[in-house]
Structures are given as structure tokens and as C-alpha cells.
């Protein structure tokens, strides 16, 4: 039954409505569902029962890589491979290597952060079934959507639709795969 569609998309008109709807979907025990909003709605993460984001792990990884790269690079280049005496200063010292390593820490952390965000969100993903819905364009404008996937264990063609209507969903549409 449910193989033919990707899921249901229901529209809501205000941040308050979508919050309450998300709480209801969460409490009903759905696993594979999502909320689409034109801006991040404050408090939605707990309304959906999401765990804390893990982007910061990528940032930390990037930062450690950047700092180590900076220090090792300068130590190798100025201390080992091409030692050059300048003003009687040491061939290598973490002091003069610090500013460049500091910048590289930030550079690599920034790439780690953006890359981590993209990786965790599976972006870029230029096609997704929700975008085909008739009412979709307003999801990036002023409307709020709940999408329940057909591969959720609780999904049922008739009951899920009724449930979405019950929690206040409007313009409920079946999504093509």
C-alpha cells in the first residue's frame, strides 16, 4: 500500500500551530517524520524530541587538524628543510609559529563546521519528494509543514491522514516518490 507514496505533507499557518502539531506527532511515536519551516522555530527541537546537534565534533576535529598542520608545517619548513638564520632568532619556536597556526586552526575549523553541517544534513540533495508538493513553495516563505514518511513503522494510508487532519493540518497532500 504505502510503497506508492513517499508520505504525507500537511500545512500549518503559524509557528504556534506547527509547535503543537510537532508535539502531537512526537507523542504519537512516529520515527520518520520532519517539520519544514521558513525559519528556525524556537523550541522546535524539543517539540520534535531531537537530540543535541553534533556539528561541534567536526569543528573540533578541524581545529585540532589546523593547529597541528600549522605547527608541523612551520617546524618542517623553517626548522628542518630550509633553516635560515634571521636576526639570531631560533630556527623553530612555537611563539613565532603561533599566529599562523592560530589562523589555520580557525580556517580548518570553519571548513569542518560547514562540512559537518552539510554531512549531517545530507546536503547537497537537490531533489526531495516534499519539493514536488503543490503547496511547497510557501515552505520557504510563510507556511509551516509536517511531513510523515511512508516508511515509518506506524504509517498507515488512512489513519495517518486522519491523524494529520486531527492535529490541525491543512491541505494534506500525498507525496509522490
Amino acid at each position: 500500500m504505502s510503497e506508492h507514496i513517499h508520505g504525507y505533507l500537511a500545512a500549518f499557518d503559524s509557528p504556534a500551530d506547527i509547535m503543537h502539531a510537532a508535539e502531537r506527532v512526537r507523542d504519537a511515536g512516529f520515527q520518520r517524520w520532519d517539520v519544514h519551516t521558513p525559519f528556525p522555530v524556537h523550541g522546535m527541537d524539543s517539540a520534535m524530541g531531537l537530540r543535541r546537534s553534533r556539528v561541534q565534533r567536526f569543528t573540533l576535529l578541524g581545529g585540532i587538524t589546523g593547529f597541528t598542520t600549522g605547527m608541523l608545517m612551520i617546524w618542517f619548513m623553517n626548522g628542518i628543510d630550509y633553516p635560515l638564520m634571521v636576526g639570531g632568532k631560533p630556527m623553530f619556536s612555537p611563539m613565532f609559529a603561533f599566529p599562523v597556526s592560530y589562523e589555520l586552526t580557525i580556517l580548518f575549523s570553519a571548513f569542518g563546521t560547514l562540512g559537518g553541517m552539510a554531512l549531517l544534513n545530507c546536503l547537497p540533495m537537490h531533489y526531495h519528494p516534499v519539493m514536488k508538493a503543490v503547496h511547497w513553495p510557501r515552505a520557504t516563505d510563510d507556511r509551516f509543514f509536517v511531513a510523515i514518511d511512508a516508511d515509518d513503522p506506524q504509517f498507515d494510508l488512512i489513519r495517518t491522514r486522519a491523524f494529520l487532519r486531527e492535529i490541525g493540518g491543512k491541505d494534506i497532500a500525498a507525496l509522490e516518490t
Binding site: I18, F39, H42, V100, L107, F111, L123, P124, M131, D142
Partner: protein
């Protein structure tokens, strides 16, 4: 949240509150006329979607012409030699480095608005951060040109980077000039990443509204398939916060390292420990000057008064005032330390700045940077948009002269009186610098035409109706009246 408090208080506390009747001080409205989400989307998208206005074509042609001065100036320099800039011993750093520091400083306000004000949860930043970040990136482009061509043989500029080359030599990392290469290139890269990431949701909005195939393709391509999923927003917001937290130490370090170019040398007038904080404050001061210079005309042209309200202008003026006062204080402290430090060379350098051959530049700097911002104490000045715009130009001029004074006066009166000189720019230098305003404006006008000028998603998120408890609050305040 605070508006919830009264109902949650115990009865006796409520009684006290009722008796005291504290004045209700509403927060400043950040969006005029209670505009809704759809209005914000339409307003910002219409700038990009509307027919290209005539003024845009006129402005674009003019600034292309201006930009050609830089192109011609640089081509002439490359084909003839770096001598076409009137640099001569002892003044080997002059307009090029002045212009470099000037442009890079302008960029700093963009990062301050997008990163530092984000960490401080200043909601008013959302209306101006996108344009200010664009300004940052374009200003860094202009800044980068000068040291790049000042190396003389620009085709060897890549030796600045730690890339293997035929001579089997590596850059010398003990030099602050090399630190600067890393600081500025990191700054340009991270600012671009931050700018782009902030734009993804808005590019998705443009994609979903786009009518033509080309627009759907390009906005769609760069929107990465963003679909406003809350599971995505969660990671996105975390990433945004982290990038803000990374950009904050970055922006402070960039101008610190720029100031090291001077402070680590032994030239009187440069060799001072006050330079890093003083340069950072000056950079933000000049950057806010430029933000005001750009945003006030845009506000008038596109009728953005509901998004850039008087409150926004007040905030920008106040930051200009604060940083301008820090700059003024730094000028005073420099003089004091030059006297208190009892170093005759240092003392001479400062007397020479104020009363020597470049005194005219020094007093332009003082009047623009110390006196001008003080006018922002008065709300009547801040409410006069035209006057604010004129004053913002003074700030830009003053900050350019600050760098001129620091760099040129110190070098023109070095330790050896026999090598003293007086520097004035050649026509090539003049035109090259003049042209960078064109380069900057070309980039900015293109940005205006093709990318969302304001962070729509962020503005919506701070609007009162975005609060899911908004209805609840309304009930409360209604009960109070």
C-alpha cells in the same frame, strides 16, 4: 519570557507588583508596521526579481568606468615596474599599504555585525548583516590587490604561500608580513563561508519563487536542496553559532596581525604595544562608517524603512560613537606614552606627526575621527539620515588619513636625518586607489542584483509573530491592561 513571570509569581508578590505598577517598557520594534512573513519575503525578493532599474544601469556603468582606473593602473605597473608608484627610500610603504589597511579595516564591521553581535544576541543585526558581510568580502578583495602588486613581480606572489617551488626554499615564518598573508587569506575564506552559509535558506526562497529556468537552476544549485527541515535547521543553527564563535577571534586577530606589520618593527611611531587593540577599534569604526554609507542610500532607494528602522540607525551610530571614542582615546594615549616613555625618537615622531610636514593630514584625521563621532551623542543628529550619511563619509575619510599618518609620517622622518624625505603619491597611485572604489561598487551592485540583500529567514525568526508562544503573551498583556 519575562512577560510570563507575573502569572507565575506567588500571590503576595503579584499584589506588590500591582501596587508598584512598574512602567511597561516595550522592547524596540525591529520590524516596522508589524509586517508579516510574506511581506518580508516579497520585499527582499522583489529587489532581485524586479526588472533591473534604470538607476542600476547608470550606476553600474559609472562604477565600471571608475574600476577601469584600477585595471589600467595595475596593467601599467606590471608592464613598467613598481617604480611608477612614487615610493622612494625611506618611504617604501606608502599609499599601497595605507589603502590595504584602509580596505581591510572596512571589512571588519561586517564580521562584527555577523559574528560578534550574533554572540551578543543583538537581534537588530539581522537586517544589515548580509549586506555588511558582502561589504567585508568585497573590501578584502580590494585590500588584497595592494600588497599583491606591491611585491613588484606579481607573477611570483605565490611564493608567499608555503608551496614547493623550483628554488627549493620555503617562506620565512618569523616575519609578521607572512602572518598577514595567512590572516588575510583565512579572513577572506572564512568570511565567504559564513556569508554563503547564511545565504543558503534565502537562496532556497529565491529558488522556490523563481520563474525562469536559469534562475531555478542557479539558485537551486547553490541552495544545495535546502528544504527548511527542522532536523537541518538544528545542525544549521549550531554551525552558524560555531562560525560566529570562530569569526570573532578571527576578526580580532586579523587586524591585530595587520598591526604587527608595524608594531613588530623598530620604527618610532610604529613600535608600540597599543597597536593591536587600537587598530581593531579603528577598523570597526571605519567599517561602521562604510555600513552607514552603503545602507542609508539603499534604505531610501528600496524603501526599507520597516526593516532598517530608526532603531537600527541609532544602534549603528552608537557603535560608531563607541569605537570612535576608543580611537580618540588611543590617539591621546599614544601621545602620553611618547612623552612618558622618555624615548627621544618616539617623542619626536609624535611631535612631528602633529606639527611636522604632514600636520595637515594629522589634523584632518583628528577632526574626522575624534570630533565627528561625538555628534552621535545627540538623538537629533542620529535622526537626521542625511547628516548621518555625511558624517559616515567623514569617518571613512578620517580613517584613511589615520593609516596615512601612521605609515607615511613615521617613515618620512626615520632615524637618519640624511634620508628624510617627503612623499606624495604619483598619478598612477592616485588612480589605482580611486579605481578600487569602482571595483568595490561593481561587486556590490552585482550582489544587490542577484543575491538576497537581507537575511530573510533570520529577520522572520526575530519578528514577534515567529515566537510560538506569541499568542500566549498576548493574552497576558491583554489581561494586564
Amino acid at each position: 519570557m519575562s512577560s510570563h513571570a507575573p502569572t507565575e509569581l506567588p500571590p503576595h508578590a503579584q499584589a506588590v507588583l500591582a501596587e508598584v505598577a512598574p512602567a511597561h517598557l516595550p522592547r524596540q520594534e525591529l520590524i516596522g508596521h508589524h509586517r508579516g512573513f510574506a511581506w518580508i519575503t516579497d520585499k527582499v525578493c522583489s529587489i532581485v526579481e524586479a526588472e533591473t532599474p534604470t538607476w542600476w544601469w547608470v550606476a553600474f556603468s559609472v562604477v565600471c568606468l571608475v574600476a577601469s582606473f584600477t585595471v589600467v593602473g595595475l596593467v601599467y605597473l606590471v608592464t613598467t615596474g613598481v617604480g611608477v608608484w612614487d615610493h622612494a627610500n625611506p618611504i617604501n610603504w606608502a599609499w599601497d599599504i595605507v589603502n590595504f589597511v584602509f580596505w581591510i579595516g572596512i571589512g571588519h564591521a561586517g564580521t562584527l555585525i555577523s559574528a560578534i553581535l550574533c554572540l551578543f544576541r543583538q537581534k537588530w543585526r539581522t537586517s544589515i548583516n548580509r549586506a555588511a558581510e558582502a561589504m567585508t568580502i568585497f573590501a578584502v578583495c580590494c585590500a588584497g590587490l595592494f600588497p599583491l602588486f606591491h611585491v613588484g613581480r606579481v607573477w611570483w606572489a605565490w611564493w608567499l604561500f608555503p608551496l614547493p617551488n623550483a628554488n627549493a626554499i620555503w617562506p620565512q615564518f618569523r616575519s609578521p608580513l607572512l602572518w598577514d598573508v595567512f590572516a588575510v587569506s583565512t579572513y577572506a575564506t572564512v568570511s565567504t563561508l559564513f556569508w554563503y552559509m547564511g545565504m543558503i535558506p534565502d537562496l532556497a526562497t529565491l529558488r522556490d519563487r523563481a520563474k525562469s529556468k536559469a534562475k531555478q537552476f542557479f539558485y537551486g544549485l547553490f541552495a544545495l536542496g535546502w528544504r527548511g527541515s527542522n532536523r537541518h535547521w538544528q545542525n544549521y543553527e549550531m554551525a552558524y553559532l560555531l562560525l560566529a564563535a570562530l569569526s570573532t577571534p578571527l576578526v580580532l586577530s586579523v587586524h591585530t596581525i595587520v598591526s604587527f606589520d608595524f608594531a613588530v618593527s623598530l620604527v618610532p611611531g610604529w613600535h608600540t604595544t597599543i597597536f593591536p587593540p587600537y587598530f581593531v577599534a579603528g577598523a570597526i569604526f571605519s567599517g561602521f562608517g562604510m555600513v552607514l554609507t552603503l545602507m542609508l542610500p539603499l534604505r531610501a532607494i528600496y524603501k526599507l524603512d520597516d526593516l532598517i528602522t530608526q532603531y537600527h540607525i541609532d544602534c549603528m551610530c552608537k557603535i560608531t560613537l563607541a569605537t570612535g571614542s576608543i580611537v580618540g582615546y588611543a590617539y591621546a594615549i599614544e601621545f602620553f606614552i611618547a612623552w612618558y616613555g622618555a624615548n627621544p625618537y618616539e617623542g619626536f615622531a609624535f611631535i612631528n606627526r602633529a606639527f611636522g610636514p604632514y600636520a595637515w593630514a594629522y589634523w584632518i584625521m583628528i577632526s574626522c575621527n575624534v570630533i565627528t563621532p561625538q555628534l552621535f551623542w545627540f538623538s537629533r543628529v542620529r535622526k537626521n539620515t542625511t547628516l548621518v550619511w555625511v558624517l559616515s563619509i567623514f569617518v571613512n575619510v578620517g580613517m584613511w588619513f589615520e593609516r596615512f599618518v601612521i605609515i607615511v609620517t613615521s617613515l618620512a622622518r626615520d632615524y637618519l636625518p640624511s634620508s628624510w624625505g617627503y612623499y606624495s603619491p604619483s598619478v598612477v597611485e592616485l588612480f589605482t586607489f580611486f579605481g578600487t572604489f569602482g571595483v568595490f561598487s561593481v561587486l556590490f551592485l552585482l550582489f544587490l542584483r542577484f543575491l538576497p540583500l537581507m537575511a530573510m529567514a533570520e529577520i522572520k525568526a526575530i519578528s514577534p509573530q515567529a515566537d510560538p508562544h506569541a499568542g500566549h503573551d498576548h493574552d497576558n498583556s491583554a489581561a494586564h491592561h
